[in-house]
Amino acid sequence: MIGLRRLVTDLALAGPAALAMMLFIFLPVVVVVVLSFTDYQFGARSFDWVALDNYADLLGSRHGRNALINTLIYAAIVIPASVGLGLLVALGLHAIARTMPRVSAVLRAVYFLPVAATLVAMAVAWQMLLHPSLGLINQWLSALGLPGRQWLSDRGIVLYTLAAIGVWQSVGYNMVLFLAGLAAIPRSLYDAAAVDGAETGWDRFWIVTWPMLGPTTLFVMIVTCANAFRVFETVATMTGGGPAFASDTIVYALYREGFVYFKAGYASAITVVFFGALVILTAIQIVVVERRVHYR
């Protein structure tokens, strides 16, 4: 009787959350993997098993490979640029945090602003800023005697424009993580390095700061990488993957194939590839955390 009552209590407490996770996370993951082996289309009455055809299509077709390569190029720009800039800004702000706390706090807030802002609305603002004739950027370029660009409709530039906006959005987030990492470095280590002859700031950075920031840096890189792979809002808002698929990315392709063309089977294969890439990343993260424990 008491056992039954306990069971009822446990079910009342944990049951709804467990059921919700089952219905909205685990079951869909299984279904999406199963669907990826079919040619199912939304609204169709039946489907056929097509084994690995969807994956062959994705990796073998020009469009499929293009979306994957674009995502990799985007990530290859955004990761080093936003991690590097985030670190530089954090180092600068950390250095002046004592002498000029107000200035440091204001700058910190400014850099973090894009993280809290609505990315779709800001993408619309960027679109206006980059407008070929009414935008400020081309106007300033022409004032400097430089030619204006079609930032979002030139196939050769569009992906880099989106990557620049991706960097703009994530520098502040990385800066905050680096600032926390810097604050955790004990001052005594710098004193010890000074005793050992590390006189310039440059020496101190390489002897103390950089090795001590190692775990933070790896964590920041993995978070940035996961976010770069998910790029969607700016693509959907500013380019729709165009012109001529020049800015098509993996999550945008997932959206278009699945929910515009209703090719559920093919879009499921894109989803599985995307998920697989993220899981591999996370596995790397776990290895890194493991190493961090030994390092301590």
Partner: protein, 272 residues
Amino acid sequence: MKPSTVISLGLICLGAVIVMLPFVWMISVSLKTHSEIFTPDVTLLPRHPTLQNYWTTLTQTDIPVYLMNGVIVTIGILVLQLLVSVPCAYALAHRRFPGRALLFGAVVAALLVPFHVTAIPIFLGFSRMGLLNTYTGLVLPFIATAFGLFLLRQAFAQIPAELIDAARVDGMSEMGIAWRVAFPLGLPTVIAFAIFSVTAHWNDLFWPLIATTDPGLATPPRGILYFRDQESGDDIGPLMAGATLVTAPLVIAFLLAQRRFTEGLAGAGLKK
């Protein structure tokens, strides 16, 4: 000040100007008159600032509807997330029951699954059940929050077991302890999670784009795109006013409570 400090501060300020540029431009254009926006010589700041665009946006467009939908959907998601997660997180932290380790393992595993991965099957199920184009359809997929369960469990685990036992001796029910002991004691974490959840769902485009085709149900990001796609390139002033109105609530909240926002949005990384 050393010269190197001056140079690095100068560069950081230059970077800050670039970061601010789209915000300044958005607000500036929203304050410009129609004729000023379409002149060939563009200036950064408006020459004759006016609130006309805001008046137009609020009275002649659906932006107020989108903002209201944003409030309904984000609050709906947050309330249901907490209703489901607080008792479960309490049970995970302070009760022993069969399957507890399995359940916690499931929470950690679910942390790995981004929403994009589950979208196709959920869309399929919702279309069968007629939940597309409803508020329910916009809210329901997000009540299962592994991140919330994880954060709350970690916070509740900090509460001393003696305190929980004392509440039990006083005759409180387990559900009562979850809500009247664990919830208030874990409030800082609840607030951090609330900021994370509200920001994520106010700003989300992916699911609203998929789950609704009815502009009357559009959340702010979806609505901004409807607005932009309808206008023929002539209503840039009101469009920028709309974008400002959509961005303003969270940006103002951030400026008022910077520390809490930073913790809520970067907390997963700060607490590692």
